[in-house]
Symmetry: C5
Subunit: 360 residues, 5 copies
């Protein structure tokens, strides 16, 4: 799995893709696994068939049978495989193009025979620094679900276990509930990613409030960018889920509607978290700048007090350091003590002045 | 009762919850009371039955009788109890999950047999510093109301007293009026919390306008965050109440509509207050920064005036402190007085210059 | 008449009110006049009856007669009177509560038998400093108008004179035209309040542009807050008037619609004025900060030029002020003049450098 | 023609107007021409009648004839004339009031017998500095158009010439096309005003990028205000034209709709230009502030380098300038050279330090 | 091809154009090619006719035949040619005006017989610095497409090749698919332009994070302006495509709808990219300012530490440099060493103080 590029959206579309004929699938991104793989599940309330690393023939065969069919395609760079699947399941060429284009925005599009859903996975990246964004596509058809990932797909492992073990409702409810479970697994990962960022924010905030000077402002900048990436991945999801909730497609069964509504609530909650983190960050930035100004003020006051007291005194000392022949004060018996007294007076007056100005 | 965690939304969902099967209730948060408790009221215009620390059997029994049934559940961490109640009152598993998930957003959701309302209580925290946020759920069914709190629930004490004493309309009007009363009690607490913050703002503002230098900027930051927490708790309520007002559910009686509209007005008023406080705070922050700049300007002017006057004079004194053999001025009879005069002239000219520049 | 409290919304609801039974009128605010008073008008195109300081019996009596009935209630703190009037004119308890609650937001609410309108009066306060905000309620019923003020009500004096004198359309058109006249009088007062603020802004702006240093930043802050108070009073009015314009209530006659539309235009104009003043103020604040930075720059440049020129020269003078036995330069015939020449050269070079840097 | 007052909206409504009976026309503003004048056109595809300085009798006479009648009223301060025309053409009293009130917002209002359009002309003011805003009203009736200006009206000269010469479509198409032509002439003037401001912006920008220090920040402020005035005049026009486009009034003929749509596009383009200029300005302000900070940084670095190098050296010179009896170094043969060498070393080390810090 | 003027919108409409009769086409802009040229394609699924540099007669002739007709007009400054084409294809005069007005906003307008689409091409300009914006118009009629460019039009070269070679669907699907292909080519160029800007941003960011001092703030300003130009070109496209998607014009065939939806997705993606780049830039600007402040703080601390340590010491040296006759310390045997020791103590105390303040 590779790291999400720094400003992916700006470089997302290589030139050769741009001028391709519309509807030609072109893989955009970096290969995250060597070998494309099909994993096939066929199940109903009573039984489950599972074929790991299935062939296209297995898919065709499974399609003709009873039950809910789920084919998970790992690694979308295999354009040929996508096109073959597209023909088998009668997908529109633009849909196949969108599956392969890993820079595509999240969306929900209804075709007469199926619904197409594109979304983004957000992982914590290995080093604990930065986030990985992965393109996930789900096709919900009549009795079948196709899911497409950029990598090996442990995202859906919990769903697989529930199907195998018969836990929860997934075996009893239809294909749309399966699609819901897949999206739910993706949304659950958002919480993890945000929590990871949140810990960092909290750490940063503690450092900021204890000693603003030791905070490295570049870190704040990098963190803002990460949050922006998560936001970009999550933000369109709200609209997507809202569209699904309003949809009147017969593929989405009435009695499963509460689940989609619940997922919508979760997506909104994720957005809230991201926005809160953003607001915290903006507020921290303001506080940082204020502390900086404040600190500068302290430093300047220090300098000014010292300078303002000693510069005049040094001047007086300079006067009596002059080598003029005729300087009567120099001859006075107590001239030295008198000058010292004058200096102490001036210093005392200046200190009193600073006290009155509340600088001291 | 524990303090509201600092950035709850970011850490709200522990990992074990995340990958649970949808519809599985998992308690999220910190236990605020040791013992879960059911308090049961059954009343109509003529009579009231009250059972403190009721059992599930009491509930089942009371359900079969005439009148409005109100069961208040203190401490939602008792998952088993929630599930038993959920089965008794035919609640959807997702509803039970939302009741237990104290990190859930405020919402209003209509199911065929009942309406589910989630909202947030905002308390002043004990130390007078910070706010506590508590998850409150209310189920409005046909002839019954279930309310769920995280703690012992003195929030609803005024409602209980009105039911017992027969004061007001609560005994005459139905279950939806009771639900209204419970929400009304919650909204009334918002006013208290905001007033408490308001006093702090006023105090801060007085300090700021009298002497900006003595204000601790970290306080402004902490206060912004508190206000953000209140806002997060209150903001979705507006939408929730608007949904209730537009609802055509038969559970909400036509002739009680004016009360819900009134509650909506109150929620809008709370939002106005929060937004005003936020604007005040932002404006204070600007003023603080301006004062800081202003102060810095004063300090710098002081330094510059002193330095600009004395540095040239000290230089002249330095000239005549040199030990060259042949320095004719040193031999002059009135050399010393002449140099002093030159120094006074230079100082006077500089002071005049600063006067013209309005620095003095 | 008392001054509008500084942050009224934050402290608006005293605790005893908060937990009152909904629909219980509680007076919120400060008494602005000692004695509550009813002023009664009964008129049609031909004749006018007027009773100053009327009794409830007068009202009841007048209601049974032909013509438009207008009762103006001064001083809403007389809860008993409000309740008696409420029963007489069949007002909903929540309406009576809203009339007494002087912290209530402006709104328009239609009940089957009447329309309820709450709005805010904005006065220039006596000292010419700050604004007073007063709660005004108007009930528009079938053939009658009730108006409620916090004080003696010279706001409506122009309307009274028009009724008495038969000037304008007020005697010919119905109760809704009277309600329009009352609102129109209130909106006209907004223009006065904003003009008063506008003069202050203009004065402030002149001072700012002539010499930013002499501006007291606290004034800008206080003024922002005043504007915010006016805005809070006026802003909801737009929505209120828009609701009245869209209303299909039979109380609002078709052929008077142009007047309400006109009032809506005025409210929008007031909002425009307030927003312009706010933008002017924000822009002034920016300009103020820029001038401050600019000024600081000037001061710093001054300091730097003086220091940079004289510090090296003073150092040279210091060198030859040392008392070493063997310092050959000191013995030179023209050592002194040579050193002076070197100093002049250094100073000239530095001045040239500052010229090239455009600091001078 | 007088200059647009600085903050007209705040002072727009003198007190005597405010409390007038609604529907009483009161002239608001400054008289821009001494003599009110009516200019009358009556034309159809074949012929044109034109009466300059027409009387009311001419108008009445012309109304009874065939063709499109256009009466242009210069100088709206002639209240009597306005009222007479209002009665002649059956205008609503509120319309006459809005024509005379030169502070009124742009709007489109449909009455059963005519449509009323208020808008603002924006001129470059004579001195090339500031903008003049003029109130323009147009009444579109069945077969007639009335236009009202504050001054002599060369704005419409191009339209007059087209009518006289028969150029374009104006003689063939009806009264609504004439109204369109009048608005089009007004909108075309906006482009001129904005271009004039644009030149100023460009000039300012060049100065800013070449040397930010020489820019006078007050100019930026004045310019922001001018742009705000234009924006205020133009902004509501969009809404107005959108209302005309959606209008189903029989006065607006179907086949002229493309023209109105075109005008709407132009208004949007004007708004785009204004908003671009505003964004440019905001961005310039940021750049100005950044340059200021940057410059300050340069100045401070200069000061710090000079001070940091010479202050310690001067201290050393001061040491050996002391007059103690027993200071062994002073007796050393090469003490002087040694101290000079130490000073050079210290200076070199400091310069090396500043190099490493990239200050030099 | 000329460079896009710096603030084109402000100067876009020369005065002679402004007061032209509406519907008179006037070329606005700079001629980008000497010779206007018509390129004609006539094709169906079986065959293709292509005439380069066609005459009007060719167009008329081709119109009467079967198949999809595409005429591409290079260089829109040939007003006569535009008007002749306009008459041939029955275009509304305002449409012809909009084609010639290269400053026109992107829009989609439906006329009974055709749809008119205006949009903007964005090129990377030759020097790699700045962007060129070109006006592109497309007329979609029944069986024909007219496209108008400002230059020679290699933008559409890929489409031409696809028609000639029969690749893709373009030969099989109708005129609306051709119009889609033309727009698609334009939108694909946006990605190139943004990628080019993106590279610049990334370069800038690297420089900023490594050493903020070396960044030239003028570059940030220039870049913001470029992005604003792209945004202005792209932003209205979203609305345009949304209008096309909602359109029920019979010219847009049902089964091609998925392509238009796809194009809308791309336009949204372009906007996302532009907005991300803007946010990155804003965030960079903040970071830049923070670094500046931070740096200033460092510089000031340096100055303050050095000054605060040495100014008092220099003062002490100055004291004993005075030439008073009677200064007992000067006579002390170890006076010199004692003073040196005092100086070291003072310096040590100050260093300790700075350590405690965390300045060192």
């Amino acid at each position: 799995m590779t790291t999400f590029p720094r400003r992916p959206s700006l470089k997302a579309m290589p030139q050769e893709t741009l001028f391709a004929i519309p509807g030609t699938p072109v893989f955009v991104g970096q290969r995250r696994s060597e070998q494309a793989r099909l994993d096939l599940f066929l199940y109903d309330a009573e039984q489950v068939f599972e074929i790991t690393a299935a062939t296209l023939a297995d898919c065709r065969d499974a399609r003709s049978r009873q039950g809910v069919l789920w084919i998970n395609v790992s690694a979308v760079h295999a354009i040929d495989l996508l096109e073959a699947l597209g023909q088998e399941f009668a997908l529109h060429p633009l849909t196949v193009e969108d599956i392969a284009n890993t820079a595509h925005r999240p969306k929900w599009e209804e075709f007469p025979a199926y619904g197409f859903l594109a979304m983004k996975m957000v992982h914590r990246s290995e080093g604990g620094r930065g986030v990985d964004v992965e393109h996930v596509s789900v096709i919900l058809g009549d009795g079948f679900v196709l899911s497409f990932l950029e990598d090996d797909g442990d995202v859906f492992e919990t769903v697989r276990q529930r199907i195998r073990g018969g836990a929860g409702r997934v075996r009893r409810l239809g294909a749309d509930y399966l699609a819901f479970c897949l999206m739910d697994a993706v949304v659950d990962h958002y919480f993890l990613a945000i929590e990871s960022i949140g810990e960092w924010v909290e750490h940063f905030e503690d450092r900021l409030l204890s000693n603003a000077m030791q905070v490295e402002i570049g870190g704040l900048y990098r963190f803002k960018r990460e949050l922006l990436e998560v936001r970009r991945a999550v933000w369109p999801l709200r609209e997507v889920l809202s569209a699904i909730n309003r949809s009147e497609s017969p593929l989405l069964l009435r009695h499963n509607q509460a689940f989609w509504r619940d997922l919508y609530d979760h997506a909104v909650q994720v957005m809230d978290m991201v926005d809160n983190a953003r607001e915290s960050l903006a507020s921290m930035h303001d506080t940082y700048l204020s502390s900086l100004s404040n600190r500068m003020n302290e430093v300047m006051k220090m300098l000014t007090i010292i300078s303002t007291i000693f510069i005049p005194l040094t001047f007086i000392a300079g006067i009596y350091g002059m080598n003029f022949k005729f300087m009567p004060e120099l001859e006075w018996r107590y001239g030295y003590y008198f000058v010292l007294a004058v200096m102490v007076c001036i210093a005392a007056m200046l200190v009193a002045y600073f006290r009155r100005q509340r600088w001291l």
